[in-house]
C-alpha cells in the first residue's frame, strides 16, 4: 500500500494516476516538485541532490506510515530523485489515493512537509553565473568550500 524510494532515475510513472487506481478510492492527488529556474532571486541552471540513501528511504517510509496512521488512505507513493537534475526535471513525487478527498490533501501535504524537514537529502544549486552552493548550509561554512573560496560563498 506504501511504496517509497530514493533513486537516480527519472521519477516518471512512479506515482502515476494509473498506478493509484482503485474503485474503492474516490480521490487521487499527485504532487510533483520540480527544478525551478530561480531561487531567492538567483538564476538557477540545475541542481545536484545527494542523499544518505539507506536512512532517507527508512525515514521516507516512516513518514508515509505516519500519514497512513493519521488518515484513511488507499495507496501512498513517495519518491525522491538524487543526482544531477536540469531545469524542469522532477525531484520529488508524492501520490495518494483515498476514499475521500480530505484525506488525500492532508496526507499529501503531511508527507511533503515532513520530507522537507526530515529526509537526509542535500541540494547543491548551480547558478547561471557559474557559482554553486549547498542550499541551507550555514553561512560560515560556505566561505570555506572551494566555491566559497573562489568568491561565490559570501553572498
Amino acid at each position: 500500500m506504501i511504496r517509497v524510494g530514493i533513486t537516480t532515475r527519472s521519477l516518471d510513472g512512479l506515482a502515476s494516476f494509473d498506478d493509484l487506481s482503485s474503485t474503492a478510492d474516490g480521490a487521487v492527488l499527485v504532487f510533483e516538485g520540480r527544478v525551478r529556474e530561480t531561487n531567492e532571486g538567483r538564476a538557477v541552471s540545475g541542481l545536484s541532490y545527494e542523499a544518505y540513501g539507506e536512512m532517507a528511504e527508512k525515514e521516507l517510509r516512516a513518514i508515509c506510515e505516519e500519514a497512513v496512521d493519521r488518515h484513511e488512505i488507499g495507496s501512498l507513493r513517495a519518491f525522491h530523485r538524487v543526482g544531477d537534475l536540469d531545469l524542469g526535471e522532477v525531484s520529488v513525487v508524492v501520490g495518494v489515493s483515498a476514499p475521500h478527498r480530505a484525506a488525500c490533501y492532508e496526507a499529501s501535504r503531511y508527507v511533503i512537509e515532513q520530507l522537507k524537514k526530515r529526509l537526509p537529502v542535500w541540494k547543491k544549486e548551480h547558478y547561471v553565473d557559474g557559482d554553486r552552493e549547498w542550499v541551507g548550509a550555514p553561512g560560515e561554512l560556505r566561505g570555506r568550500t572551494a566555491a566559497g573560496r573562489a568568491g561565490g560563498g559570501d553572498r
Binding site: G33, K116, P120, W134, A137
Partner: protein, 79 residues
C-alpha cells in the same frame, strides 16, 4: 571502541571525505564524538551538529557502541 563516521553535502566537501573512523573511550556519547572530531581536523564542524546513529536521528546524549555508523547531517534540503 571504534565508530564509522559518514559525511554528506557541505560536510563531505569540507572534510574532503565521505567516510572516516574514530577511536573513542568505552561509554562515549554522540556529544563526545563531536568534541573529538572538532579537536581533530574538523574544527569547522558546528558543535550542535545533527547526528544519526545507525540511520536514525540521535541526541547528543545517545551512547555509542563499537561498530556504530554515525552520520554527520548538514541542514537538509530535500524536496
Amino acid at each position: 571502541m571504534r565508530v564509522r563516521t559518514l559525511f554528506f553535502g557541505v560536510y563531505a566537501e569540507l572534510a574532503a571525505t565521505r567516510e572516516g573512523s574514530t577511536e573513542l573511550p568505552p561509554g562515549s556519547t554522540v556529544a563526545d564524538l563531536v568534541v573529538a572530531l572538532r579537536r581533530g581536523s574538523l574544527d569547522w564542524l558546528p558543535d550542535r551538529v545533527v547526528v544519526a546513529v545507525n540511520q536514525s536521528y540521535a541526541e547528543p546524549g545517545t551512547a555509542l557502541a563499537d561498530g556504530d555508523e554515525v552520520a554527520l547531517i548538514p541542514p537538509v534540503a530535500g524536496g
